[in-house]
């Protein structure tokens, strides 16, 4: 393997673990893969000097960095094993929710180990409390946080296999090469990893010799567009989600829930009647409602519908959409007229949005007197396990918590309410259960992106911007799912101050990519007890989208072209390269009623620009017809996966800008299914999408975050295109948000 002095070769300690076949555990320190973050100081919340050097933003930590630091001390517990059948097995302490992480990790391993990709098996780890903060999937940081330890483990394993073969052949290890899951000698002899692994196994745990990682130029798997490793299972219907698991004796369970959020059970009138219904096995009360256990979900649903329950009040029974909107407008402090300079102001509102993953909230639980086992999709399994243990009165050590691949998340699986409920029902009913939320409950009692209000101001003299102020008011985002603990831990090395976790998260995630003078973004949270949660892109999904739409207004006021205006004020060439790659067709002629719109966003050490073309000939039925997306994610481990995530961001942008939102009405969202919550469908999706992956030009660039990157730019591009096509300034999103349905009964 060629040496490359430019590559960061700081020590990546790996251990050979005593085991029957070759097993490697990685140990790395905090400074190994986030050195700049450890040394840097967070940006002051109030103002960035107008003349800040262009490189400054890259030196500042973001939310992903902080979570990476929090996980650093325990990342050494990642283990990779080569089985006697030659398969390479790796336990991934993260969730796979569709973002393609298992594929990216398998690629990293295949690359460093010179093993065929289809021999690499990545399984999701059970909850491992010893990992503390390093088992949290969020902030688009999984590849960022894991790529070095994963590669280090694979490189150490490869080196050990080579050394073992060298010993067997009495050859010098330096003369041997590896390819296709085997060690090759210059004379043509080969030894497969399958045959070597037992001999390569360590008799006792010891430090592995240092093994260099491949440079980007040497990589053959990483950087090549690669299809998902689970694609065949998916297209044949064999991919298993929580409720597809065959857990012996686990019976279907569904919960009847209150008519308002956080309502309580007062009295159940017809327990005996429902128990006597066809297929019903049990009716039990849990804190969040009344559960019906039955032989089939169809029968559980029928029982749930037949229940007659008196309900106690919820936490926000008097609140409705317009009240919340008004409270938010009031909560965001207004601007005073500036002295001596001109100003441009704008306001935006965003409705709450359901996560609405297609797999509803669900879990399987088997709670016995002295132990419990849970199977569910979870981004925060350690906190989930602790919550389950508490809910059923067992020590956490008696709970086995298995993480199952999710049917979508978008932030939803940070919460583990289904796991807790399944455990409660299992305990109360004395049998294992498969608990499923109905779609109606998933939308009405599930989590939502909190509604927000935005006040924005740019001050300028003679067309030169002097400052950008952005005051965000948001219903409080619930971060009580383990992220908060991780941030706190990650910040012990950083001056965090006494601000709330939400303020810290906001500050770590919000940054303007533009030089617009003194820039200040502030958050005011409204403590309403709705079921909120982080939704893909978290604060940026609304706040950065608002800024990008505002930028179009500012450009128009100042007589500038929106793309040229952005280009001039972006802070560095990497950003401009991405904007340019998306806007090659900017200004092309389109039929009347069509228009283009752009949006740009930088976060997670990555950047993306979206250009969309929108048909608004009927302004009530706008359709995005075409999209050009450019993205620089540093080293793109799997360009095909990066494209997929951009496509997802685009669809989220279309949906949330145009039609998808929740109307909160007297304590409960009105929307109860996809016929009412208008997430985009095929008919809303463009027929022409191009994604350009822009190389940063840095051969040894680290991978940046990808999963959440697209949303803010996509929302803005759609909003801006609509504004340009119709000559209006949309202020409230989604744009078309009538209650065009008959709500389901409560």
């Amino acid at each position: 393997m060629a040496e490359n002095a430019a590559v960061d070769r700081r020590t990546l300690l790996a251990y050979l673990v005593a085991a029957p076949t070759l097993t490697v555990a990685v140990r790395v320190g905090a400074d190994t893969w986030a050195p700049e973050a450890a040394a840097a100081t967070p940006e002051a919340p109030a103002a960035t000097p107008a003349a800040a050097p262009a490189a400054l933003p890259d030196l500042l930590p973001d939310l992903g960095d902080v979570l990476i630091l929090a996980g650093a001390p325990t990342a050494h517990l990642l283990t990779l094993e080569i089985a006697e059948d030659g398969t390479v097995r790796f336990g991934l302490p993260r969730a796979e929710v569709g973002q393609g992480l298992t594929t990216a990790v398998a690629m990293l391993i295949a690359e460093e180990l010179d093993a065929p990709l289809d021999r690499v098996r990545v399984r999701l780890d059970d909850a491992r409390p010893e990992l503390l903060f390093n088992q949290l999937t969020g902030s688009s940081n999984s590849v960022r946080s894991l790529h070095r330890p994963v590669r280090a483990a694979a490189a150490a394993a490869r080196a050990r296999l080579v050394a073992t073969a060298a010993r067997q052949w009495s050859l010098d290890a330096a003369d041997l090469s590896t390819k296709g899951g085997a060690v090759h000698a210059p004379d043509g002899r080969t030894l497969s990893y399958a045959r070597l692994t037992a001999r390569a196994a360590a008799p006792r745990t010891e430090k592995a010799p240092e093994a260099p990682l491949k440079s980007a130029a040497e990589q053959r798997v990483v950087g090549r567009p690669t299809n998902r490793i689970d694609a065949r299972a998916i297209v044949t219907g064999r991919q298993e989600y929580a409720l597809d698991l065959d857990i012996p004796g686990a019976e279907p369970a569904v919960v009847r829930r209150p008519p308002t959020v956080n309502g309580t059970v007062e009295k159940v009138h017809n327990t005996a009647d429902v128990r006597a219904m066809s297929g019903v096995l049990d009716v039990v009360e849990i804190p969040t409602g009344v559960a019906v256990v039955a032989k089939t979900f169809g029968q559980a649903l029928a029982g749930q519908a037949a229940l007659r329950v008196d309900w106690g009040a919820g936490t926000v029974d008097d609140l409705s959409h317009e009240d919340i909107k008004a409270k938010l407008r009031k909560a965001a402090p207004g601007f005073l007229p500036p002295l001596l300079v001109e100003h441009i102001d704008a306001e935006y509102d965003f409705a709450p949005v359901s996560h609405a993953p297609l797999e509803t909230n669900s879990a399987v639980a088997d709670v016995r007197a002295d132990r419990a086992t849970v199977w569910t999709a979870a981004q925060s399994p350690i906190a989930a396990r602790a919550a389950v243990a508490k809910a059923v009165g067992l020590p956490a050590a008696r709970v086995d918590f298995h993480v199952v691949q999710a049917g979508g998340s978008f932030g939803r699986r940070l919460f583990f309410d289904a796991a807790v409920e399944a455990a409660q029902v299992s305990k109360a009913s004395g049998r294992p259960v498969r608990l499923m939320w109905t779609r109606v409950d998933d939308m009405r009692h599930g989590r939502m992106r909190p509604p927000t209000h935005h006040k924005l101001r740019v001050t300028h003299t003679r067309g030169k911007p002097l400052s950008l102020q952005h005051r965000v008011a948001s219903v409080e985002t619930d971060v009580g799912h383990g992220v908060g603990d991780a941030i706190t831990a990650g910040l012990t090395e950083l001056p965090g101050g006494n601000e709330t976790l939400a303020q810290t998260m906001f500050r770590l995630s919000m940054r303007s990519p533009y030089a617009l003078g003194a820039t200040a973004q502030t958050l005011t949270e409204l403590p309403l007890k709705l079921h909120t949660g982080s939704w893909r892109s978290v604060y940026s999904g609304t706040a950065r989208a608002a800024e990008e739409m505002f930028l179009d207004e500012v450009a128009a006021e100042l007589g500038a072209d929106p793309v040229a205006f952005r280009r001039e004020r972006l802070k560095n060439d990497a950003q401009r390269k991405v904007l340019d790659a998306a806007t090659g067709d900017w200004g092309r002629e389109l039929p009347a009623g069509y228009a283009q719109g752009v949006g740009f966003h930088e976060e997670y050490k990555s950047r993306a620009a979206f250009l969309v073309e929108l048909d608004a000939r009927d302004p009530k039925k706008p359709r995005v017809t075409r999209a050009v997306i450019a993205v620089d994610v540093g080293r793109a481990v799997n360009p095909r996966g990066v494209e997929a995530q951009m496509l997802g961001g685009l669809t989220d942008g279309i949906a949330t800008a145009l039609r998808a939102g929740l109307h909160f009405d007297k304590g409960l969202p009105l929307e109860g299914s996809y016929s009412q919550f208008h997430y985009a469908r095929q008919k809303d999706s463009p027929t022409d999408v191009r994604v350009h992956i822009v190389e940063s030009g840095d051969a040894d660039a680290e991978p940046g975050g990808v999963g959440e990157l697209g949303v803010p730019a996509a929302v803005a591009a759609v909003g801006n295109a609509y504004a340009r096509a119709t000559g209006t300034r949309p202020r409230s999103f989604p744009l078309h948000f009538d209650v065009d349905f008959e709500p389901f009964p409560r």
């Binding site: 998902r228 169809g298 297609l358 049917g407 779609r439 997929a644 997802g648 095929q682």
Partner: protein, 152 residues
């Protein structure tokens, strides 16, 4: 409890189930056929899309008694052993899936569409109402076109 007899994926089955039990739960909970997914229960998300006598339908909204004596095909019955259906192959080539939860339904809807029309227009593809919350629609469209070119 009445005995319900129908064919699923080429095999004749008889199950004891009430007439009004939605077929989805007969498949998933009584027969262990779990490719068709629950996403709404009221035929709007289409995640459970399967075929009834060769046409797309949604078992979440069809009582089991209605399929008596008829032929149900789920995603599990689409491939011929290890040989995938051309639509499944196109799905692999285009790397359509993200979370994958809706994709069995998307594939079954696409197969039904291609049975009706060999070379579907964009408007005909638009008519597939299956929700994909990951937003893979563009790749679905491309995969349908690839499959159409191959089958046609």
């Amino acid at each position: 409890m009445p005995a319900q007899t129908f064919t699923v994926n080429g095999e004749k089955v008889t199950v004891d189930a009430p007439d009004d039990l939605p077929l989805l739960w007969v498949l998933r909970d009584l027969l262990g056929i779990r490719g068709p997914k629950y996403g709404c229960g009221i035929d709007v998300c289409k995640a459970c899309t399967s075929h009834l006598d060769g046409e797309a339908f949604n078992p979440c909204a069809v009582p089991v008694a209605e399929v008596a004596g008829r032929e149900v095909t789920t995603i599990e019955g689409l491939a011929d052993g290890d040989t995938l259906h051309p639509v499944q192959e196109a799905w692999l080539e285009q790397d359509v899936a993200q979370c994958g939860y809706c994709q069995a339904g998307q594939i079954m809807a696409a197969v039904a569409l291609l049975k009706r029309t060999k070379n579907p227009t964009d408007a005909e593809i638009d008519a597939i109402a299956n929700v994909c919350r990951c937003g893979t629609y563009f790749r679905i469209r491309e995969a349908i076109k690839v499959a159409a070119a191959r089958v046609g």
